[in-house]
Structures are given as structure tokens and as C-alpha cells.
């Protein structure tokens, strides 16, 4: 076969094979994990890396993990001399992690006769609890040490043997050790699936050929991205947006970005200078989160089949000033950076891009995952319970298309818990679950509506909310109106109503009803254009 055929066909097959391995790792993890967060909400990712720790394949899992997995592998390799049979574990946001509940494992894949790893397999899963001052480890802390156990890159497995000391140390610092141990075992199994399958590929094709193909795959991805960047106009496009507050002071947090596009060389640089300093509350983003958001946005410019490899980011430089809200440093608390800051960073990037390519970018989506945690004693069974869920909102309108109502966008895609499952599991009665009519921004194309959910508490409980977009609307584009901001109320049994802040933790009584209204998406285009088109 000619060399050209080698490129087009061998590469297609290689890409498909490694992607299928990453998917298979994910299936193994989902099948063997215990906690609903992994099994049902599917908050995990699996990926493969080349010898230089560049990602060559990632399963279609959680967008917020795009790009940031690579930083975990780099950190593990930098800190540890990994040998055959080792597995590194880490969650420290200041050493390759994102926020503490996300625990990553890295397995070096050794091919016989090679002194160094030829590939790496890694899995990341969101664990339901990693200790700290709040059950669920997602509360309103003020420094990272309050958020749970920090694990720097360390050996969990040593040449095939479990490092029991490390495992015990972790399990002694979490609320549900049995569940954690099960989920960690599932992650080990998933890494092993990646190792076994990669070794099968090596046996079939030989290491030299696979190494060449890996490099080719990265070069191909880079070509794809450069081809796309060549279609965008030259110039620097700046934008800003705000988060309401960090939940401790009322100060808005500014996120600013300037995207410089260079179509001539097919490159882009993204600069977050001008962003607010890191804050006292728990919604700071570490660099990994910011990098993931950039990866996500530029990956979406490509077609659906484009492989999520490190090559895609080769032409793109990301600058985030250390100590700023988008590159927080010790000892900032960061639990909410993953879920809240990440969405706003995407909003800002889209706003800047819309100035370069107005026809290719949607208006702002709901922009907050409305993380709701309710904990207390379930008197029906006499056992404590902790409920955690995110609620979707409205998607921003697209040029040519309305936004979708009540759907997760951008950095998450977790499923909701069925109402009937919820009422079996917790002392709740759901009173309504509906579209929040009229919350989508007006426009030639309207933003999607948010959702309304009312939960009546059948027992006293602690209610913790981590939500944003209570002051700053999801923006519209091209003359479209912004989406409605979110709101939360607590209706007491006596009929009085209390408005809750976006970020709060309160004691609620049996009979109280939590009413959550999530933001709508922004509109696109001037509303009068829609009126005209309907009139016709």
C-alpha cells in the first residue's frame, strides 16, 4: 500500500480502535462502580495517552474532563517514577487535579523490552464523598483544606501490589469508605482494560507502527483544527461576563478573555488577563478547568466525529494569570469551579467568538448547574440521607434555531433522577417539575426555557444550594434578549415565602417546599424579525 493510503486508512482504523478502547474502559467503570453518581449520572471519563503524555483517545464522557486529564497524567509522571504494575492516584487540584471529588488514576503501559512506558491509561470519576466539612464534599468552604482529603500523585499500586497504607489513609478520611473502595476498585479495573487492549494492539501491529500512528493521529487532529481556524477572521476578540458572587461577599466576579485569531497560520491564543483575583468562596477554577473549557469550545467548532486528542489544542495557547479566578492557587477552595466557574468560562469564550463568527455561536445557555444538596434524617427508615442533584436550564438560541428547553449544556450532561425514584429514596414529595414558561430570551430565535422544580420536605433537613445567574442574565446575541435569571424560594407550611440566595445553606422544616427556577437561555437576533416571520 502507498504511503497516502497508510495515512488515510490505517489512521482511520487506529483512531477508531483507540477510541473504542477508551469507550470500553468507560463501560467497565460504569458496570463495576457502586455509586449512583458514576452509574447513573455518569460523571467520569477515560482516556489513553502516548509516551509523551499527550491524550490520543478519550471516550465520549464528561466534557469538563476534556483536556484536564492530560494534566493529571503529566503531574503523575513528573512526580513519580512509574514502573510496570504501578498505578498512580491523585485528586489535588494543585497537582494535576480539578476539584477534590474527582479522583484520577494513571496506569503506565509497558511494552516488553521497553525501559519507559509506551502509553498511559487514565480514568477519572467523581466520588460522592471525599471527606471535608460537608457531606458530599461540595459545600461552601473557604479553603481547600475544608473541602476534603487532598491526594497528591502517589502510588496506589506498586509493581502489581496494592499500597495498603495509601488506600487505608484515603478510606479513613471519607464518609462512605465501603462505597469509595468499590468505586476505586472499579477505576483500577477500568485502567487495566485499557492496558490489556493497548497491549493487544501492540501485539497485532508492533510498537513502532503504533508509535508512528499515535504521532500521526496528533498531527491529523492538529491539521483539522488549523483548517478550522483558517476559516475564522483575523483579529482579537474580547468579551467579559460575571458570576454573581462567591457566596461570601456580594462582589461580582469578572471573567475577561481576549481571543486572538491568526488564520494565516491557523492558530489562536486565549488570554484571560483582566479576570478578577481568586475569591474566598468555593467556586474558583484551577487552570485545568479553564483549559478544559477552552478545549471544549474549540472542539465544538469541529464536526462531531473529530477525535478529542491533544493535537486539537496544539495550535491554541491558553494564558490564565496565576492567582486569578481562572487559575486559582493554594489555598483557594475550588469544589464549585468544576460545576459553576467552568460554565461561565464557556459563556465568556462564546461571547468573544461570536464577535469573530456570529453565525456559528449560540447565545448564552443557563450557565449554572444549580447544585442542590439536601441532607438529614429520613424518619421513615431512621437513617441519614444525602441527596445531590444538578438541574438543567434553557439552551441559548442558535442562529437559525431556537434553543432547547430544560436540557444540560456545555460542560455537563448528567441525567436527572426520576421523580418516582426520588420519592422512594428520600423523604421528599415532588410537587411539580415543569418548563419555566417564558424564561428563554426573546429573539428572532428564542432561548430555551429553564425548569421549575418544587420539592416538599417530609422531614427536617439541611438545604445547601450552589447556583449562579441570579443577577447576571444569560446573554442574548445579535439583538436577542437575555434569558431570565434563576431564583429559589422556600415556602413554609404557613404560606410565608422566603427567597434564598444563589449560594446558601439553611435548615428547613418538615412541610417546607423548595422551589427552584433555573435560568433560561439567551435569544438570538432581534425579536421583531421573528414577529415578522410568524406574521408571514
Amino acid at each position: 500500500m502507498t504511503e497516502a493510503a497508510q495515512n488515510a486508512i490505517e489512521l482511520a482504523i487506529f483512531q477508531s480502535s483507540v477510541h473504542s478502547i477508551a469507550e470500553e474502559m468507560g463501560a467497565a467503570l460504569r458496570r463495576t462502580a457502586i455509586s449512583p453518581n458514576i452509574k447513573e449520572r455518569r460523571d467520569y471519563s477515560c482516556a489513553l495517552f502516548d509516551r509523551q503524555q499527550r491524550v490520543i483517545a478519550m471516550g465520549d464522557h464528561m466534557p469538563v474532563h476534556l483536556g484536564s486529564m492530560q494534566l493529571s497524567v503529566e503531574a503523575a509522571v513528573a512526580r513519580l517514577a512509574l514502573k510496570d504494575g504501578d498505578i498512580a492516584i491523585l485528586n489535588d487540584p494543585y497537582a494535576g487535579g480539578t476539584h477534590l471529588p474527582d479522583i484520577t488514576m494513571v496506569l503506565p503501559i509497558f511494552v516488553e523490552g521497553e525501559g519507559a512506558p509506551s502509553f498511559y491509561a487514565a480514568t477519572r470519576a467523581h466520588h460522592a464523598d471525599v471527606g471535608g466539612m460537608f457531606a458530599g464534599s461540595m459545600g461552601t468552604a473557604r479553603e481547600i483544606c475544608q473541602e476534603g482529603i487532598r491526594i497528591p500523585p502517589v502510588h496506589l499500586m506498586h509493581e502489581g501490589e496494592m499500597n495498603q497504607a495509601v488506600l487505608d489513609l484515603i478510606l479513613h478520611n471519607v464518609r462512605t469508605p465501603e462505597e469509595r473502595e468499590g468505586d476505586l476498585s472499579a477505576q483500577i479495573g477500568s485502567c487495566r482494560v485499557g492496558e490489556r487492549r493497548m497491549k493487544e494492539l501492540v501485539a497485532k501491529h508492533g510498537l513502532t507502527k503504533l508509535t508512528t500512528l499515535s504521532t500521526e493521529l496528533l498531527a491529523y487532529s492538529e491539521r483539522l483544527m488549523r483548517a478550522e481556524l483558517r476559516k475564522l477572521p483575523a483579529g482579537t476578540f474580547a468579551a467579559e461576563d460575571f458570576m454573581d458572587s462567591d457566596g461570601i461577599t456580594d462582589e461580582p466576579i469578572r471573567i475577561a478573555v481576549a481571543i486572538a485569531l491568526d488564520p494565516e497560520s491557523g492558530a489562536a491564543s486565549i488570554d484571560f488577563r483582566g479576570t478578577s483575583p481568586q475569591v474566598a468562596g468555593s467556586i474558583n477554577a484551577v487552570y485545568a478547568i479553564t483549559y478544559s473549557a477552552c478545549f471544549y469550545v474549540f472542539r465544538c467548532l469541529l464536526s462531531d466525529e473529530a477525535p478529542a486528542t491533544a493535537g486539537l489544542m496544539q495550535p491554541i495557547a491558553v494564558t490564565a494569570p496565576a492567582g486569578s479566578f481562572v487559575n486559582a492557587q493554594m489555598p483557594a477552595a475550588v469544589a464549585g469551579g468544576n460545576v459553576e466557574a467552568s460554565q461561565r468560562i464557556v459563556d465568556v469564550l462564546l461571547r468573544a467568538l461570536s464577535k469573530a463568527a456570529p453565525q456559528r455561536v449560540p447565545a448564552a445557555s443557563y450557565g449554572t448547574m444549580s447544585n442542590l444538596t439536601i441532607g438529614g434524617l429520613d424518619t421513615r427508615v431512621g437513617r441519614p440521607f444525602t441527596y445531590y442533584e444538578t438541574t438543567a436550564g434553557g439552551m441559548g438560541a442558535r442562529p437559525g434555531l431556537d434553543g432547547i428547553s430544560g436540557i444540560h449544556c456545555h460542560m455537563t450532561n448528567s441525567l436527572n433522577t426520576p421523580i418516582e425514584a426520588l420519592e422512594y429514596a428520600y423523604p421528599f414529595r415532588v410537587r411539580s417539575y415543569a418548563y419555566r414558561s417564558g424564561s428563554g430570551g426573546a429573539g428572532e430565535f428564542v432561548g430555551g426555557d429553564g425548569l421549575v422544580r418544587e420539592i416538599e420536605l417530609l422531614d427536617d433537613a439541611q438545604v445547601t444550594l450552589l447556583a449562579d445567574r441570579r443577577r447576571f442574565h444569560p446573554y442574548g446575541l445579535a439583538g436577542g434578549a437575555g434569558g431570565a435569571v434563576g431564583a429559589t424560594q422556600l415556602e413554609h407550611a404557613d404560606g410565608s415565602v422566603e427567597t434564598l440566595a444563589g449560594k446558601c445553606s439553611i435548615h428547613a422544616k418538615r412541610g417546607d417546599v423548595v422551589r427552584l427556577e433555573t435560568p433560561g437561555g439567551g435569544g438570538w437576533g432581534v425579536p421583531s424579525a421573528r414577529a415578522k416571520s410568524t406574521a408571514r
Binding site: 486508512i9 477508531s16 469507550e23 463501560a27 457502586i34 483548517a227 430544560g406 421523580i419 418516582e420
Partner: protein, 656 residues
């Protein structure tokens, strides 16, 4: 005497399979898409059966109504405050990285969603009854809306059906077809249940009138005849039930394929199979293991993006078919599928298309007969294919190289699909036999088996009509379920007995006697997924063991709960004892009709061509060879050895 005839509607042909002196026989007539029943009656007329004719039908009417979104205008009635849940679904988007994905259209538009103020709690307690005035208001609004059908699904209706029954009774007065959740799917998870009930209402009027008309035609032509229908779970139901619960027929034809592949493979001595059915736009794969109870049933299927919770065979579909289009992207990578040329414009070689497809690639490599495609209904233009492929091959040296690449890429996609149903579910493909059918299955089976290290390929007799074979041989089955959410040691006798009585009564209406099989869905308390196990004294132990096998761990200390109880009522089909030919060792020379140059892995080899109909039991020979038959061809690569067994199956030993 009773004569059973299976008739399966396909895209091009309607296949009629029946037993002729102990052997399966097939008759193919052209399908009549505007009125599929016409082809059914045409086929029967040609066959001229006598005696008590039982027509068993595989229909695509329900599936097509869903695919084309041409179902009824449906009103949806649910608990007040939850009218939108049918549209919100699970709040997740189908595509992660596509900002321009279309706005999903709910089968029920907002103005046809109605709420009744009522409530049942998780324990089945009636928290709020249905108010007469409220009910009359909803009935009046629905009457005024001009809908064709009504679907009702109230919260926790499976735990206490009193409110729902009351609502249904009032709605019945409207005289519209009515689908009610506690009758169709009394299981928890409100969205999936409601979606199933709405889907039933949506396809109901179409399927109902189709079945009624066809049943009448059959009755007119054969006074003692009757019509039965294949359901998605692989069991037969009466025409009456199919018309009432058409949602059970969504995978009617594909389910026939699975049952056919499984039954024929077992007769040939193979108990663990992977079914591989490749058609024009997609490939269906399934895994059946006799040692774990036969065909796997899923209660979580999606049909065209809509969850349908009634039992269906676990069939996985990949967008890889003969019509899959090959093209290079901006980075120079070759993609094949999921975009398909379909039948219009179709592959280049059909005469109208201009984009290279898998069928074009097979043709230019010498792997297809130009005059026998789809039973000779389409003649293939090799020159046209080669000329357009030459323009599309970019930097590749030759059309053959391009075509070889297309096949390798599409076979990788099909390999992925098989991995999903095997490796990802804890099975090792090396323990299985690949059963190839459909027009394209036998073309690609050996290459695929090699890639997956599957040791053996079986191409059954009649690979192009296997769905009809399965429909002919299937048992009659009725499935009942109910969510109970009880501790594992709860007394469920009453629930089971009630379900069995209902089942026996329904069977008697159709003159049937059935055997009931009890099973339960269990999980560790608090888990989100259940495992189904037979219900007996050993159920809980068996659950721990299965959990361990499937998920790698078990915890005998942890509380186990029973989520759903299930009864499967089965009236077994008459056993099929096929006539076995005597085996005479031979080399197939009598069936050799010529040779042709064919490309294998980029190398051109002189390849022997055999006519399958002329082969005999005991014939054994090695590749490279092509074995042609009506509507399909088996590619035997160099090194692989085929043997014709006593039942006329091709059994191929694949050498890795």
C-alpha cells in the same frame, strides 16, 4: 390440518417462509410500501395454502410510523404539575459537542398535555383523589382538541391504579383509542413509562387499522385462518393484542432475525451466538447465550430516540450498511458512514448516486455478482462505480486501494458494534459463533470474525429470510410486569397469582394454554439498576452470584430489594425437527460455476465461484471462494474452510 406461514415485511421483499415436508421453504414477493398488507396477501395467494391457515406476521408499520414521525395526534394526561415531564425526559442532550443539534420534537405538543389534580404516594397511599369537576374539564378539553388517541400515565399509578382507572373510565366515554399506563407498563420511572404509553397511542391508530384490515383479509381468504404478530421480545401475540398494544411490535422483524439465528444455530449444535445482520443502511448485532437463558431481553430500549420500556430483545444497531458513504475529512482521514446513500440515490453502481459506498467498494473488488444483487432486482454498474471512485480517491494510488480501505474502515465500525454487545457486557467473543445473515452479513462475516478472534462463522440456510424463519419457529409469549419495591423476603404470592390469572384469562380468549415463568428484578437497596432472575427459593443467592459475575463484586451483607415482578406466559411452538440430509464427503466441485479475480486485503487472487443451491451436505473446501445464492453471497477468504452441514448451513472455520 394446521398450516403455519411466517410473513416478514422488508424494505425490498416480503419474505414468506413455511415448512414443506419438514424443510424450511421460502417465497419472496415484492414489498408494497404504500400498503404492506397487499404483499402479504399476494404472497399467500401464490402459496395457495389449505387447512387452518395461521399467518404469523413481522410488521414494520409501527417502526415506520415512529421513524417518519407520522403517528397519531395524541393527548397526554398526567398528574397536574408534571405535564411537561414527557418532553423534558432525562434533561440530557443526545450530542455532546454539537451546538446546532435540532430541537427535539415531543410526540405530544404542549397544547395537548393535560394535568389532573390528584396524587398517589410512593407507598401506594392515595394522597388526593380525582375530582369530578376537574375530570370533566379535562375530558371536555380533550374532546375539543380533535386528537386521534389519548395516553394516560399518572405518578405512581403502578403502586395504586385507583385514580388512573377513574380517569381512564371517564376518558373512555370520548370513544377514542386509549392507552393507560397501569395496563401497558405498570413500572416505576415516570418518564420511561409515560413515553412507552404515548408511543403506544402514537402508533396505535395506524397499526390498529392495518392489523384489523389484514386480519379481515386473512379471515375472508381462509375461513378457518387467523393472524398472529411477532413482538419485539421474540414471542408471538394474537392480532387482537397487537392492535391494542402495538408498542410491543416496534422490533417485530429484527426480533424474528434473532430468534431465527438462535434456533437454527442450536439445531446446528452451537449454543452461544453473535447475530450479525447487515442491511443497506445499518447493521444489527445481538448476543444469545443458551447457558444464560437464551436471548437477552432489555426493558430500556430506545426507538428513534424515544424510550420504550416494554420487553425487547437486546439488539444493538450501528450506522454501517451497504449504502454507507465513504468520504475524506479536512484532515485527510477516511470516514465511512453513518451517512448512507440509502436506496435513493443509492450506491454509485445502482446508476444514480455519485458518492462511493460500501457496496461500490465490494463491487470493484470483485466480491459481488453484477446481476444478482437484491435477488437480481438491481443490476450493478461496475464501470460507473470505478469511474466515480477514481475521482473521489484523492491521493490514493488506485480504486482498488480506496475500496480496500473502505471495507477495512466499515469492518472496524462493525467490530466496534459487536464489542459493545459482547466485551462491554462481560462476554468473550472467542467463545461464540458468528451467525451472519441479511444481504451483507455473509460478505463481511469472515473478516469480522478474524478481527474479533471468533473461531467460527455460520451462514444459515435462507440468510436473506431469517426473520421470517424466526417468526415461524417462535413461541407464543405474553409478558406482564409490576413494580413492587419490596424487601427481598417479602411475600409476593398474591401479586404473582393475580398476574398469572390475568395472563391465563387472556390466553384462553385466544384458545391457548400457557406455562407461567416467574422472575423478579433485584438490586442492592439504593442502586440504580436491576438484574432479572428467576423467582424461587434461591433467588437472592443467585442475585449475589450474578452481580459478582457481571460487575465483579457482591456484598451479601447488603440489603437486597425486589423492584419489579415479572410473569412470562409461554405457549411453546411445535418443536421443529428439520430433515437432515445424509452427509457425503465431497469438495463441492459439482457446485463450482467458474472463477473470477477478487481482491483480498489488497491482493488480487483467482477465486472459485460456487452456487450454494448446488452444494451438498459434507462438501468441504477452502478459500479463496465466493458462494452465491439468491440475495446474498458468502466471501470465504484464503485460509478459511467451509463445510456444509446436514441442515444445509455453511459452517466456516476461521483461521486467525
Amino acid at each position: 390440518m394446521q398450516m403455519r406461514i411466517a410473513i416478514d415485511t422488508g424494505g425490498t421483499f416480503t419474505d414468506i417462509v413455511y415448512l414443506n415436508e419438514g424443510k424450511l421453504a421460502v417465497l419472496k414477493v415484492f414489498s408494497t410500501p404504500a400498503d404492506p398488507g397487499k404483499a402479504v396477501m399476494d404472497g399467500l395467494a401464490q402459496l395457495k395454502p389449505s387447512g387452518d391457515v395461521v399467518v404469523r406476521h413481522g410488521t414494520t408499520v409501527a417502526t415506520n410510523a415512529m421513524l417518519e414521525r407520522k403517528g397519531a395526534r395524541v393527548a397526554f394526561v398526567t398528574t397536574k404539575g408534571f405535564e411537561d415531564t414527557i418532553a423534558i425526559g432525562r434533561q440530557a442532550r443526545p450530542k455532546l459537542y454539537d451546538w446546532f443539534q435540532p430541537v427535539p420534537e415531543c410526540l405530544v405538543p404542549a397544547e395537548l398535555r393535560f394535568g389532573v389534580a390528584e396524587r398517589v404516594g410512593a407507598g401506594g397511599e392515595l394522597l388526593r383523589g380525582v375530582g369530578e369537576e376537574d375530570l370533566q374539564r379535562v375530558c371536555a378539553a380533550i374532546a375539543a382538541s380533535g386528537v386521534d388517541a389519548v395516553a394516560v400515565s399518572l405518578l405512581f399509578s403502578f403502586a395504586n391504579s385507583e385514580n388512573e382507572a377513574k380517569v381512564a373510565a371517564a376518558l373512555r366515554a370520548l370513544g377514542l383509542p386509549l392507552s393507560v399506563s397501569h395496563r401497558i407498563l405498570p413500572e416505576f420511572r415516570e418518564y420511561e413509562r409515560a413515553s412507552t404509553v404515548v408511543a403506544n397511542a402514537y402508533v396505535g391508530p395506524k397499526v390498529g387499522s392495518y392489523i384489523a384490515t389484514l386480519a379481515n383479509s386473512v379471515a375472508r381468504a381462509y375461513p378457518k385462518g387467523r393472524l398472529e404478530v411477532m413482538q419485539s421480545s421474540g414471542g408471538i401475540i394474537s392480532a387482537r393484542i397487537a392492535a391494542e398494544e402495538p408498542v410491543r411490535t416496534m422490533l417485530s422483524g429484527p426480533a424474528g432475525g434473532v430468534i431465527g439465528a438462535y434456533k437454527l444455530a442450536r439445531l446446528a449444535g452451537f449454543d452461544r451466538i453473535i447475530g450479525f445482520d447487515m442491511g443497506g443502511t445499518s447493521t444489527d448485532v445481538c448476543l444469545v447465550d443458551a447457558s444464560t437463558g437464551g436471548p437477552r431481553i432489555s426493558n430500556e430500549s430506545m426507538i428513534t430516540g424515544i424510550p420504550v420500556g416494554v420487553p425487547m430483545l437486546d439488539i444493538h444497531t450501528a450506522g454501517a450498511g451497504g449504502g454507507s458513504i465513504a468520504q475524506f475529512d479536512a484532515g485527510g482521514l477516511l470516514h465511512v458512514g453513518p451517512e448512507s446513500a440509502g436506496s435513493d440515490p443509492g450506491p454509485i453502481c445502482f446508476g444514480r448516486g455519485t458518492k462511493p459506498t460500501v457496496t461500490d467498494a465490494n463491487l470493484v473488488l470483485g466480491r459481488l455478482d453484477t446481476n444478482r444483487f437484491l435477488g437480481g432486482t438491481v443490476s450493478l454498474d461496475q464501470e460507473r462505480a470505478a469511474s466515480w471512485m477514481d475521482k473521489a480517491k484523492v491521493s490514493l494510488a488506485s480504486v482498488e486501494e480506496f475500496a480496500t480501505g473502505i471495507l477495512r474502515v466499515i469492518e472496524t465500525s462493525m467490530e466496534k458494534a459487536i464489542r459493545v454487545i459482547s466485551v462491554e457486557r462481560g462476554y468473550d467473543p472467542r467463545d461464540f459463533t458468528l451467525v451472519a445473515f441479511g444481504g451483507g452479513g455473509p460478505l463481511h462475516a469472515c473478516a469480522l470474525a478474524r478481527a474479533l478472534q471468533v473461531p467460527r462463522v455460520l451462514v444459515p440456510a435462507l440468510p436473506g429470510a431469517l426473520s421470517a424463519v424466526g417468526i415461524l419457529l417462535a413461541d407464543t409469549v405474553r409478558e406482564y410486569s409490576r413494580t413492587v419495591m419490596r424487601a427481598a423476603d417479602a411475600d409476593l404470592e398474591e401479586v404473582f397469582v393475580a398476574m398469572e390469572e390475568q395472563g391465563h384469562a387472556e390466553f384462553r380468549m385466544d384458545g391457548l394454554e400457557g406455562v407461567a415463568f416467574r422472575s423478579v428484578d433485584l438490586r442492592y437497596a439504593g442502586q440504580g439498576y436491576e438484574l432479572n432472575l428467576p423467582y424461587d427459593a434461591e433467588t437472592v443467592n443467585a442475585f449475589h452470584a450474578l452481580h459478582k459475575r457481571r460487575y465483579g463484586f457482591a456484598n451479601e451483607q447488603r440489603a437486597v430489594e425486589i423492584v419489579n415482578v415479572r410473569v412470562r406466559l409461554v405457549a411453546a411452538a411445535e418443536p421443529f425437527e428439520p430433515v437432515r440430509e445424509s452427509v457425503v464427503e465431497g469438495d463441492g466441485a459439482a457446485a463450482l460455476v467458474g472463477t473470477r479475480a477478487v481482491y483480498f486485503d489488497g491482493v488480487e487472487l483467482e477465486t472459485r465461484l460456487y452456487e450454494r443451491a448446488a452444494l451438498h451436505a459434507g462438501d468441504t473446501f477452502a478459500g479463496p471462494a465466493i458462494i452465491s445464492e439468491y440475495s446474498s453471497a458468502t466471501i470465504l477468504p484464503p485460509g478459511d474452510v467451509v463445510r456444509v452441514d446436514a441442515l444445509g448451513n455453511l459452517v466456516i472455520e476461521v483461521h486467525g
